[in-house]
Assembly symmetry: C2
Homo-oligomer: 231 residues x 2
């Protein structure tokens, strides 16, 4: 079912992303994206969006058929991404341990580069109260999954990764650490033991080390007092 306005002759219809948007519609979308990302669909009113965009509420409805149509447009824009960079990385040269580090870095960079986009899509995935936007976010998630997990499969196939571990588990552990860093960063910032809130690279380096080599001490390590971790 479509909520989009049937396009009038010459009039911009902004629900579907087709023609370049006129200035007003762009402002509205940018404001909507910012507010929906921060406060969720229910936490934002059209009045809020209009005020943030510097236009009237009626103008919002001039460009978009409904609040929900506006929201779905912000999600469609957020979902306009490809897995091309991941695919290039996977297909490129390099050892698999290095590729894993690069992949984890790429994913977290993208998340931190556009937190609004990340938040919009993650919220749709994690909040299962409604179906709204869920399909869009799920398409992105699945597209990324295929590209990302192929690295784990390739590494296993080449013998670089263990053959007795499901590549999907490796993928999930990697993506879980990234998501948790992104989502919990502000909470963890208050934790004096968590020194990585402003050091995503250090965080990923440490996580990838654990994912590759595990926590268990090598069997050859002498029992007894361990060395203190490097800080």
């Amino acid at each position: 079912m479509t909520d989009e306005k049937p396009p009038a002759a010459g009039a911009g219809d902004c629900d579907a992303i087709t023609a370049p948007l006129c200035g007003g519609a762009r402002q509205i979308l940018d404001a909507a994206r910012r507010l929906f990302a921060e406060h969720s669909y229910e936490g934002v009113s059209v009045h809020d969006i209009a005020a943030a965009a510097g236009v009237s509420k009626a103008n919002v409805f001039h460009h978009f058929t409904s609040k929900e149509a506006l929201y779905l447009t912000t999600l469609r824009e957020a979902a306009l991404q490809t897995a091309a960079e991941v695919e290039s990385l996977v297909a490129g040269p390099g050892d698999h341990a290095g590729k894993l580090r690069a992949l984890a870095g790429l994913i977290l960079d993208k998340m931190l580069q556009d937190p609004q986009q990340t938040r919009l899509l993650l919220r749709e995935l994690l909040e299962h109260g409604t179906e709204r936007g869920r399909e869009l976010a799920q398409q992105v998630f699945e597209r990324n999954f295929q590209a990302e997990v192929s690295l784990f499969r390739q590494a296993q196939h080449c013998g670089a990764f263990r053959g007795d571990v499901d590549p999907v588990i490796g993928w999930l552990a990697m993506i879980a650490a990234n998501m948790t860093f992104f989502l919990c960063r502000d909470v963890l910032r208050h934790n004096p033991d968590f020194n990585y809130a402003d050091k995503p690279e250090a965080f990923l380096s440490a996580v990838c080390d654990v994912l590759l080599h595990g926590l268990a001490a090598p069997a050859s390590a002498a029992p007894g007092r361990s060395r203190e971790p490097v800080s």
Copy 2:
């Protein structure tokens, strides 16, 4: 600032959890908890809660000073948990690898055992749009953190875990996998490659194996075609 009703002589005041709640208040709280967990604070009206509890809206306000007070009461109840089980596990006997598996299992069991409680608290941590309830959830998070990370520190101290890895990283990788399983389970259920949606034990077993031993193939493994993973 407190929104709670000053307690009238003999009258139940349900905002603060003190005296046992009368039947009506209990029904309201149970309905509130279910609806807030599923739809968030903004996505639920007092009308919805009253209807689900089988009482009038005015009765909700008879027992609770405001919608927000009701919400905070559901969060306080959700936050009434201790880290005693984790502390017992950490202090008990057993090798650390086994303890890690047991800890991860305990955490995921508790999440799956009361998904509403989990969702209420996680939402407060992950959605940073408001401060409401954030402090309550953060207290729970930090209390659990201290208990959980102590296992990683203990394992490292005993030489069972590597000395060159920050125990907080190990902890985060473990908790991240648990959170992601809990939050993304329904999304991942649609993924034919993810065989664990209904097998949390198998999932955790595989994740703990990776956390302990890593993904990298042992150096002694013959290069070339890897064995297929056991399905």
